[in-house]
């Protein structure tokens, strides 16, 4: 038998012979592993979900929302004479449509008044992200629709499906009620655009949610001149695209333009969204680091305590080992090695628990979180957890191990 195997075997037997120390220490390590690893995995899942969402944000488009007035639009136009802009004025949720007998949902329409050729720019009404949409059937709202205040509407495939099922909606009418008018009027559908990511998610939501009170949000795009005569007073959103300038320059210039509005106008761009995610990631990482330090110290002190108790019980053994030739260093190494063994077992169990947990959470993420979330555990996370906890095991064993190493043989043997 190899000496190393003999040594390991010996340590194992010693560890196994002290069940209480083993159990208590392992529990601490498991808790620390689970918290540490689960924290890393969750932060990573959240951040990648956010990144994934903003990857759809058009990189050379700015979206401005808030109390936008004519003056502001004028200053935008004079600063960027070549810019293409789509102006939107929203009229929030009106009375919900009942989905009728065929649908268990309430339908909550959002009416957006739009300026000319709005679909040549991305649609901004998808949380805080602007996505490019394209007409899949019919046509876009035209300048003449706007000037003549025609009661026409552009909807998405998703909306079309809700109102018209499999039929082609172009040419059919939808009842629309504007805030400014008391009555519901029939608007003619002139175009359908492909679903945005938010609408694709809404479909998943509808499929998994059978709650009858569940609201389905749909968007109606109509000429903004229908909203009121003084059009530009009601603008709430501007989608802005400047073909001639470098976008980073545009972004800075807009930032300066909105300064005087003291946060009443908010700028959304790909860059500042990503920046936001990065900041969030950073603060979550810092928070996790603090929690980790705390947990490691607590679990480490637990380990230290258990080891001290164990050493008190094993004073005789230590005396015998020293008597037959164990040096102080080999006594220390033995106890530290035992701690590392215990730590490894705890870490492996902890990793198993976290892996199982996140396999389940990933599989049922739609049911639990209403969204497809993939909780991925990377090699780096596992490795760093192992390293951190092994370090903890070693660090918090040094003091008890030194104590053990310095026990006097004569005293120890009298104990046995």
């Amino acid at each position: 038998m190899n000496k190393f195997i003999l040594y390991i075997n010996n340590c194992l037997m010693m560890v196994l012979s002290n069940r209480l120390r083993l159990k208590l220490s392992i529990m601490g390590v498991i808790v620390a592993t689970v918290i540490l690893l689960a924290g890393m995995v969750s932060i990573n899942a959240f951040v990648s979900k956010q990144y994934e969402k903003y990857q759809r944000f058009d990189k050379d488009v700015a979206v401005l929302t808030g109390s936008i007035n004519g003056n502001f639009i004028d200053s935008l136009k004079s600063t960027f004479p070549e810019a293409v802009m789509a102006l939107y004025s929203d009229q929030g949720s009106l009375e919900p449509y009942s989905g009728g007998d065929s649908s268990p949902y309430s339908i909550l329409p959002m009416v957006h008044g739009v300026s000319s050729s709005f679909l040549s720019l991305p649609l901004p009404f998808d949380t805080d992200c602007a996505y490019t949409a394209t007409i899949v059937s019919g046509r876009d709202i035209s300048q003449s629709d706007i000037v003549n205040k025609r009661k026409v509407v552009v909807i998405s495939e998703f909306t079309s499906r809700i109102f018209f099922g499999e039929d082609n909606p172009v040419g059919k009418t939808i009842p629309v009620k504007l805030l400014s008018s008391d009555s519901v009027e029939e608007y003619k559908v002139i175009g359908v655009y492909g679903n945005t990511p938010a609408e694709r998610e809404a479909i998943i939501n509808m499929m998994t949610n059978n709650d009858p009170g569940f609201n389905v949000k749909v968007d109606f795009y109509v000429p903004y001149t229908l909203f009121s005569s003084s059009q530009e007073k009601n603008i709430s959103t501007v989608v802005f695209y400047s073909p001639q300038n470098r976008f980073s320059v545009v972004e800075k210039a807009i930032d300066i333009l909105i300064k005087p509005y003291n946060g009443n106008i908010v700028l959304y761009t790909y860059n500042n969204r990503i920046q936001l995610v990065e900041n969030a990631q950073q603060s979550m990482n810092i928070a996790l680091a603090f929690i980790a330090i705390f947990i490691i110290v607590v679990s480490g002190l637990n380990m230290l305590n258990c080891l001290f108790f164990s050493i008190k019980e094993r004073i005789g053994e230590i005396g015998i080992r020293k008597a037959i030739g164990a040096t102080k260093i080999s006594i220390m190494v033995q106890f530290i090695f035992e701690s590392m063994l215990i730590t490894m077992v705890g870490v492996i169990i902890g990793i198993g628990i976290v892996t199982f947990l996140f396999i389940v959470l990933s599989a049922f993420s739609i049911e639990i979180f209403r969204a497809q979330i993939v909780f991925a555990i990377s090699k780096e996370m596992i490795l760093s957890t192992i390293i951190v906890l092994l370090l903890q095991g070693v660090l918090f064993s040094i003091i008890p191990a030194r104590y053990a190493a310095n026990i006097k043989i004569v005293n120890a043997l009298r104990f046995d």
């Binding site: 000496k3 015998i320 080992r321 030739g325 164990a326 080999s330 043997l413 046995d416």
Partner: protein
Amino acid sequence: MNPRAGVDAYTYLIMQNELLIELINIVKSYDGKRNILNGLNFSLQRGDFVAILGESGVGKSTLLNIVGLFDGFDSGKYYLGGFDVTKNHDEENALVRNRYFGFVFQLYHLIPNITVEQNITMPFLYASAVSSYEVMRWKMGISKKLRIDNLLGSKVDMLSGGEKQRVAIARSLLLSPQILIADEPTGSLDDNNAEIVIDIFGEYKNQGHSIILVTHNKQIAECADKVYSIKDGVLVNANE
């Protein structure tokens, strides 16, 4: 100083010197008032078999602890192979214990919870320059002689007192130490087993090793070359 280099120096000295151990004027007190050893002199030659008798509490174990480098003393000199070990470093002493001494303790002092085999091979864990193949062979030889080869896989806790003592003896002899120190090794053995142990000690001595033995057993004492007893903290010739 590198402790291993120090130990290698002892190897030379212990090989060269016929006088392995020399204690001069050793004074030892635990409480600073009563001297358990009071100017004790002792020497051990290569191949000596020394027995030490004495009433309980006179300091026999105390003397063995000092000889075995477990414990220090208040004044006096200790030469090991002609080398003054009084100011030795702990780590150095540990290596010396492992390489030159074998110990059989008064109270067995085996490690519970592990097997007989692991107890017997324990000195090997702390030894250097010994091949595991050799150790396994020695282990088998010794356990056969001591009739514990059938117990190798058992846990120590399960053994009888006599079996424990034989395991302790096997452990002390594993690395064939130059000097064997035994504190009442036959105290818990029946006549039959005591006989075996005496035979082993005799054989051991004939191979040129030295033995220091504390015993109450007159029969064993008779096998020794020299018999001392401790009186008033010094060694006296027991036959006088």
